[in-house]
C-alpha cells in the first residue's frame, strides 16, 4: 500500500488520495496553447457550453415530456409551453441551441479546413470531430421526432425510407427500424430512447476522444507554424512568459475563451428570448397525421445542403450522391495530398477550392429550402454536381502543391 501521512489541509488530504495538483497541471495550467491564434479557436469551448445548455434544458423537458403518440404533442405544446412555469424557457433554449450548435459546428469545421488542422498527426482530431458531427445529426433528427407534429412524422417517414436503399428495396429493414409499417408508437418510443440516452452517451464518449486526440499534436495555430511545445513551455515556466510562443490553457487561454463565450451567450439568449421562431417550424404545430403530407416539407437548415444533393437525381443516383456527401468529409486528411499545414490563403489552388466549397454549400443550402421547380431545380443540380466534382478534384489540386 502507498504511504499516507497525516494531512496538513483538505487540499493535502485530497492530493494524497486523488493527486489533484497533478491533475490540475495536466488538464489546465500546464496544458499548452499557442499564442498566435484568434477568436475562431474559441469555437470548441462555445460548442462545449452549447452542449451543456442542451443537456440542462433537456433534463427539465424530460420531466414533463410523454413519449406516447396520443400525448406527446400535447405534453410539449400544452403542458410544457403553458402549464409548467418557465417550461417555455427550456423548450426555447433546447430548440435554439439545437439549431445554433450546427452553425458553430460548421464554423468549427471550416476553420479546421482553412488552417489545415487535420494534418500531420491531427487526423484523429478530424475523424473524432466528424463522428461527433454524425452523432449530433442523429441526435438532432431523433429529437425532432419527439413533439410528434406533422414535420416530425413526415421527416421520420422520409428519413427512415432512405434505409430501403432505393433499388435494393430493403423495406424489411425500414419496418425493423420503425417497428411498424409506418412511424407509430414503437418508432416514437425507440427514438425517444436514442435521443435521451444512447446518443448523448455516444456524444459524451466522442467528446472525450476528441479532447484526447488534441493532447499530443496540440492545437494548431493561425500561421501554420511548427511549435516545439516542450522547449516553449520550459521557456514559459522559467519566467520568460513574453518570449515563449505558448501560454497556459488555464487561466491564460481560458480567460480569452470565456470572453468569446460571453459574447456568444448574449447573442444566444437574444435568440432565445426574441428570435426563437426560426427554430420552431410552424408546420410542426399541427399534430402528426399519417394521411396528409404537408404541402412543402424540408429539413432544418443544417441538413439542407445534403438534402439538396439527394433531391435532383433519380432515386439510386441520388442516394449514392447523398452517401458520398456523408462520408467524404471524413476522408479529408487523405484526399488532401499536400503536406502543407498552413492557412489556405498561402496554398494557391487549395484556397480557391476552399472558398468554392464554402460557396457551393451555401448555394445548396439555399436551394434545398426552395421548392424543386424551374430554375431552382437546375441551380440545385449544378451545385450538387459541383460538390462531387470539387471533392474528386481535391487530390489532384493538392498533389502538385509547392511546399511552403
Amino acid at each position: 500500500m502507498a504511504h499516507f501521512t497525516k494531512a496538513t489541509s483538505v487540499k493535502d488530504w485530497l492530493n494524497q488520495r486523488l493527486a489533484i495538483e497533478k491533475v490540475e497541471k495536466v488538464m489546465a495550467s500546464e496544458y499548452w496553447i499557442p499564442k498566435n491564434i484568434n477568436f475562431l479557436w474559441a469555437m470548441g469551448m462555445v460548442l462545449a457550453i452549447t452542449f451543456a445548455l442542451l443537456l440542462v434544458s433537456g433534463i427539465f423537458l424530460l420531466m414533463y415530456y410523454q413519449p406516447d403518440v396520443k400525448d406527446a404533442f400535447y405534453s410539449v405544446n400544452y403542458t410544457i409551453m403553458r402549464d409548467v412555469d418557465f417550461g417555455w424557457l427550456w423548450r426555447h433554449v433546447h430548440g435554439v441551441a439545437a439549431s445554433v450548435v450546427f452553425l458553430i459546428i460548421y464554423i468549427h469545421m471550416f476553420t479546421g479546413i482553412y488552417y489545415g488542422s487535420y494534418k500531420k498527426g491531427r487526423e484523429m482530431i478530424w475523424i473524432s470531430g466528424m463522428l461527433l458531427f454524425v452523432t449530433f445529426s442523429a441526435e438532432a433528427f431523433s429529437g425532432y421526432m419527439l413533439p410528434w407534429g406533422q414535420m416530425s412524422y413526415w421527416a421520420g417517414m422520409v428519413i427512415t425510407n432512405i434505409f430501403s436503399l432505393g433499388g435494393l428495396h430493403m423495406d424489411g429493414l425500414v419496418e425493423w427500424i420503425r417497428g411498424d409499417y409506418v412511424p407509430a408508437q414503437a418508432f416514437l418510443t425507440r427514438f425517444f430512447m436514442l435521443h435521451v440516452l444512447l446518443l448523448p452517451l455516444a456524444i459524451m464518449g466522442l467528446i472525450g476522444l476528441h479532447f484526447a486526440a488534441l493532447r499530443l499534436p496540440h492545437v494548431n495555430n493561425q500561421d501554420g507554424e511548427e511549435i516545439d511545445f516542450d522547449a516553449e513551455s520550459k521557456k514559459y515556466l522559467a519566467g520568460d512568459k513574453a518570449g515563449s510562443k505558448v501560454m497556459r490553457f488555464a487561466n491564460d487561454f481560458m480567460s480569452k475563451d470565456m470572453m468569446v463565450v460571453g459574447i456568444y451567450l448574449i447573442f444566444f439568449f437574444y435568440l432565445v428570448f426574441f428570435q426563437y421562431g426560426f427554430a420552431l417550424d410552424p408546420v410542426n404545430f399541427d399534430p402528426a397525421d399519417g394521411l396528409k403530407t404537408p404541402a412543402h416539407i424540408y429539413p432544418e437548415w443544417y441538413f439542407l445542403w445534403s438534402y439538396e444533393i439527394l433531391r435532383p437525381f433519380s432515386v439510386n443516383i441520388g442516394l449514392m450522391a447523398f452517401g458520398f456527401a456523408q462520408v467524404i468529409f471524413m476522408l479529408l486528411p487523405w484526399l488532401d495530398r499536400s503536406p502543407n499545414a498552413v492557412p489556405a490563403s498561402r496554398r494557391g489552388a487549395f484556397s480557391i477550392w476552399f472558398w468554392l466549397l464554402l460557396i457551393d454549400m451555401i448555394v445548396l443550402t439555399a436551394m434545398g429550402k426552395l421548392p424543386p421547380e424551374g430554375i431552382f431545380s437546375t441551380i440545385g443540380l449544378v451545385a450538387a454536381l459541383a460538390f462531387i466534382v470539387l471533392w474528386i478534384a481535391l487530390p489532384f489540386i493538392t498533389m502538385n502543391e509547392k511546399k511552403v
Binding site: 411498424d180 396528409k292 403530407t293 439527394l310 437525381f313
Partner: protein
C-alpha cells in the same frame, strides 16, 4: 512459458464464452426491435368497391398508409395504353386505379390535381398520372399496389388474391 500458455488458454476460453454471449445478445436486441405481433395482426382492411363515385380520388387507410382509390371514367378506360391496362384493377364492371398513396421515392403523399388528373409530390417534385404511372423523377417507378383480394364487390387489402399475384409476377408492382 508454462504459465503463459495457461493464460493464453484462459483468454481463449473467456473469448469463447463472451462470443456466445455477444451473439445471443445481438439476436435478442434485433428481435426486440421487430414489429410487435399486434402490429402485424392489424394489417387487413376491407373496402366496399360499389360505393365509389367515378373520376374522384378517395383515400382509404391500410397499415397506417394512405390507399388511393380512383374509379375510372369511361373516357379514361377507353384511352388506356397497354401499360395502363396492366395496372387496371377490375371489380365487376368497374375499373379502378388502386395504389399505396406514397411516393415511391421517399414516401411522401403526392397531392392529386383533379383538373390535370395527375399527382405531384411536394417533397422532391415527383409526378404520377391518373393511372399511377410515374411521369417525372425522382420516383423510380409508379405507385406500388397493395396486396388485394377481390370477393364479389368487396376487396380485402393485406391478402394477396390471384389478380394481385399476377401483377406481382409480371413486375407491375413490387
Amino acid at each position: 512459458m508454462h504459465n503463459s500458455s495457461r493464460r493464453g488458454f484462459m483468454g481463449k476460453a473467456f473469448g469463447a464464452v463472451a462470443g456466445v454471449g455477444v451473439v445471443g445478445s445481438l439476436v435478442a436486441m434485433k428481435k426486440t426491435w421487430d414489429p410487435l405481433p399486434s402490429v402485424k395482426a392489424a394489417g387487413f382492411t376491407t373496402l366496399d368497391m360499389s360505393i365509389y363515385p367515378e373520376g374522384e380520388l378517395i383515400t382509404e387507410k391500410w397499415r397506417g398508409k394512405p390507399i388511393f382509390v380512383l374509379k375510372k371514367t369511361a373516357e379514361m378506360i377507353a384511352g388506356q395504353t397497354e401499360s395502363q391496362k396492366a395496372r387496371d384493377v377490375v371489380v365487376g364492371d368497374s375499373h379502378f386505379m388502386l395504389a399505396i398513396g406514397l411516393c415511391t421515392h421517399l414516401g411522401c403523399i403526392p397531392g392529386y390535381n383533379a383538373a390535370e388528373k395527375s399527382f405531384l409530390c411536394a417533397c422532391h417534385g415527383g409526378m404520377f398520372n391518373w393511372a399511377g404511372e410515374v411521369t417525372k423523377v425522382p420516383p423510380p417507378r409508379g405507385f406500388d399496389i397493395p396486396p388485394f383480394k377481390i370477393e364479389g364487390n368487396k376487396m380485402i387489402l393485406g391478402e394477396a388474391g390471384p389478380e394481385y399475384q399476377a401483377m406481382k409476377d409480371s413486375g407491375i408492382t413490387l
